[in-house]
């Protein structure tokens, strides 16, 4: 018996025993270990974390971790994924297996509660990008304050024009900020009506004004319809990924 086990996910299978076999990270045999109606999907390993300076290798491990969880999720609806590199070790009094079972026993109630909460649902990633230039052009042509400033500029000399241009830019920046907040609030309000939970993540790229992880029905959600409405607006682009196992909604009480 190895001194450690690497965890992929927890499965809740109240009506039938979990039978599962797969090839995991580094070709390891992946199989379930049980406690009551729960199973941990694992492979045996050395008590050393996976580490490498080679991003391709890390990326392969991570992909394999995700792939095994996807395979499990294809069979069982109720799955809680672990973070990559979650390795349970043996302790002076207990083997790694016994430690894992003790943990399942201790957390059984919280795990079942979470499984029920997530049942039938999936995670979706939503990123909304804003073309500020498009909105900026629209404001310059339509916003009365900016139109007045432009008219005034036309009557001034070079020095006056410079000062008014500065003023116009400050006004425009303020208006753009308000527009950005207005749209973000509006999109979030709409999305909230069709998801059961959501997490606001940090925007990761320039132009991204909203980055969300959403939990909603795996098959019948209306999230796609709402996002399509946003995608059809000229100044916005939507990136919609999923369905993912509920990685962002799996933390236990």
């Amino acid at each position: 018996m190895k001194q450690a086990i690497c965890l992929y996910c927890i499965v809740w299978s109240p009506n039938k025993p979990v039978k599962f076999k797969a090839v995991g990270i580094s070709g390891k045999e992946v199989y379930p270990i049980y406690y009551k109606d729960l199973a941990l999907i694992i492979h045996e390993c050395k008590p050393i974390p996976y580490s490498s300076k080679d991003p391709r290798k890390v990326s392969e491990w991570v992909k394999k971790h995700g792939q095994v969880i996807d395979e499990v999720w294809d069979i069982w609806d109720s799955v809680l994924p672990f973070q990559f590199n979650t390795i349970i070790k043996e302790t002076p009094k207990q083997s790694a297996f016994d430690n894992a079972i003790s943990w399942l026993e201790e957390k059984h109630g919280a795990i079942i509660q979470k499984m029920r909460e997530l049942s039938g649902q999936a995670e979706f990633g939503v990123q909304i990008y804003w073309n500020r230039q498009h909105t900026s052009d629209h404001l310059i042509k339509n916003e009365p304050t900016l139109l007045n400033l432009q008219k005034e500029m036309a009557t001034k000399g070079e020095g006056g024009q410079f000062l008014l241009r500065e003023k116009l830019e400050v006004e425009l920046r303020g208006l753009l900020q308000k527009e950005g907040l207005k749209w973000t609030d509006q999109f979030l309000s709409k999305i909230k009506t069709v998801v059961s939970q959501y997490r606001v993540e940090k925007p990761k790229e320039t132009g991204m004004i909203l980055n969300l992880s959403c939990l909603t029905d795996k098959e019948k959600s209306r999230l796609g319809e709402i996002l399509e409405e946003i995608e059809n607006m000229e100044a916005f682009r939507v990136r919609f990924t999923g369905p993912w196992p509920p990685y962002s909604f799996s933390s236990l009480a």
Binding site: P49, Y50, D54, K63, G66, F84, T86, K89, Y247
Partner: protein
């Protein structure tokens, strides 16, 4: 609008989720979780995920243990 899930276009999304989220176990049972001192990778998304974990303080308790294990392995 249909969601996408193909590996080519969603690797960064997967990395974010697998490295940064999911169930977290109690520290005393665990060897490590994606140990930052060990995974010296240049993959932007991997690092971004690890940075987020650091921000949440997940590594503070385990960092010393990870270093000790790595020290033994390389000794």
């Amino acid at each position: 609008m249909k969601p996408i899930r193909d590996q080519k276009h969603t690797l960064v999304d997967l990395l974010d989720r697998v490295l940064d989220r999911g169930v977290i176990l109690h520290a005393d049972l665990i060897i490590s979780v994606a140990g930052i001192p060990l995974i010296g990778v240049s993959l932007k998304a991997v690092i971004a995920g690890i940075e987020t974990m650091l921000e949440h303080g997940y590594f503070n308790e385990w960092d010393q243990e990870i270093r000790e294990i790595e020290g033994k392995n390389t000794a």
